[in-house]
Subunit: 400 residues, 2 copies
Amino acid sequence: MSKNAQLLIRAGFIHKEMAGVYDYLPLGLRVLNNICNIIREEMGAIGGQEVSLSHLQNPEIWKTTDRWDDIKVDNWFKTKLKNDTELGLGFTHEEPLTALLREHVQSYRDLPIYPYQITSKFRNEMRAKSGIMRGREFLMKDMYSFTTNQEELDNFHEKCAGAYMRIFDRFGIGERTYRTFASGGVFSKYSDEFQTISESGEDSIFVSRKRRIAVNKEVCSDEVLTDLGLSRSELEEKKAIEVGNIFKLGTRFSEPLGFLYTDENGAKKPVIMGSYGIGPSRLMGTIAEVLSDEKGLVWPESVAPYKIHLVEISAKEGKGVQTHAKKLYAHLVQEGIEVLMDDRELPAGQKFADADLIGIPYRVVVSEKTMASGKLELKNRATGEVRRLSETELYQYLNI
Amino acid sequence: MSKNAQLLIRAGFIHKEMAGVYDYLPLGLRVLNNICNIIREEMGAIGGQEVSLSHLQNPEIWKTTDRWDDIKVDNWFKTKLKNDTELGLGFTHEEPLTALLREHVQSYRDLPIYPYQITSKFRNEMRAKSGIMRGREFLMKDMYSFTTNQEELDNFHEKCAGAYMRIFDRFGIGERTYRTFASGGVFSKYSDEFQTISESGEDSIFVSRKRRIAVNKEVCSDEVLTDLGLSRSELEEKKAIEVGNIFKLGTRFSEPLGFLYTDENGAKKPVIMGSYGIGPSRLMGTIAEVLSDEKGLVWPESVAPYKIHLVEISAKEGKGVQTHAKKLYAHLVQEGIEVLMDDRELPAGQKFADADLIGIPYRVVVSEKTMASGKLELKNRATGEVRRLSETELYQYLNI
């Protein structure tokens, strides 16, 4: 089993329903929601408007763009209504969103718009063995741009690339994530991927550390290197996880679906489109893969399920410690700090091992010893650094 | 088409993908999220812990409880993996949640627990003609209780009934929503429904206004009335929408799935379960049905997509009005007020009609007239009351 799934299952973040299909337990859902909310902030900042499209897909619009047939798209999940009408389960949403916007956009005045959603996608993968990094059902943030001309598309493409790098920075994986030149697929000659270097990645990329860019091995020809002004000697081959991608779609969908707008001169023209994907569940898996250590998960504060893991170590009759820990917990929560309390009747060693496994940024220990010394123990999960602080010093440290 | 779908589509809240399948546009998603967040608060307050289970369902656990066969459950959507393994799309989640918790709960010390989720459900309805009140794909809050004994189940059942009534009160439909005695289905003799009186409801109930309870017509026998101490003379027959239901499940699922815990004496016993459902998308449809008027939607502040609809009415060259409206908008947003700005170049009458249709609680008009008088116009959508206020008075009115 992949490292991310092993760690996340052992630590109680997720549950495996079947290959490529996972449930999120309270700890895991908190991480996933934190990831989604950071993505929402950055999508809002570049003009994104959140929508939510259905999972069930009407075949008619997909036939119009020739993406209904299983020969053309090989990872559909399909199902049927009672009257035997075939339906699909959304693996992406270009078609329904384009068809929807046809009814709401008429004029150049209504553009540009940048709708996005964060919803489950379904892909009938032949194999699914990378934990939550490649799901048959997974969470996807898919944004689409609808503009009147190529320049607006190019500008927004760059703007979104910037937002993506800010997102990866906020998740603590910016340093090891490269904007990667990749194949454009059916829509355009090239596309941009965002690849996080990791031994567990399914992709191979050639990285230029100096230039902070990379090229996907699939397209790394002499011609492409010349285009990018890169020489083979400056490139290192690395395994990487694709954590995002952005495509220029042009009129690939707006033409067949008849999504036209009226320009300043009254002429009808097809809308120019782009698509911008990030997988929050795959990102959670990626963070688990690349930031963990031999003791377990190590969450950056931005996405951690809680900020503090409060571990109370008391003897059977240790009412004083328990009361003190409860008071401390109540005060921290009241001050808006997210705290996970471990008041289980278990040996200290097991509780510490669990705290390391779960990977909350700060562990605070309350015990007979800390009470006697008047100093709490604060441990930083990422660095291992331990501080002994009075309660007042702890509050100062936390800015509360 | 149902009134809720008509209004919500015309006002730009939702889009119909096909019968019983809807997309949520920015305005609609804001309402839906507000509804979900109020439900989250109330579920959290009674001890709920949020999780998120997969849509794709493994047949094996459903066979164990005899709910896989289409003859036993007639509204499954089913699909297939590449290797022809059949999968289902979750229409409820008793089975996977029970199977999941088997692995996390061993002792009476781990109970009670109250997990819940807010996720899409799929039901292959023969007909779907009530807009977002009966979807083939819809949002559901489903909570499940896992306790060690009947008394805890009974207590939590009452606690959750209380939380449900608080939720309906917060949505502005508490007065017309009745806790309703109903059939227990396969799990138990009786259950509790929550029914909102509305001509567009699919259910018939007998209401006692005095006692603030109701009985579903399906179970309204003399025996039941005697049980409840109700006489036919005090009951009125009403059409109603089922907005919530709570069931005592007992060991219906824990026994076949082998979800046992160890009690204080070391004995293994099946966990006692209950289920507690509310449909956020159906609730959104219900609010649209029962609180709208002939001009359009009327959202209560608690779920409204915005608090203020700021309508700017300016002549073509009216820069002064536009600048003033923009400043007012910026100030309100900065103070944390949610404002929808209408700065479209359209006739005033059309903008007012749209504001009425969309149904945001307060409409504020900025025009040459209001600027000349130094008084903004504030209109309450629900009551129609109009006030003329200076900017300072408006801020006081809004407590900012």
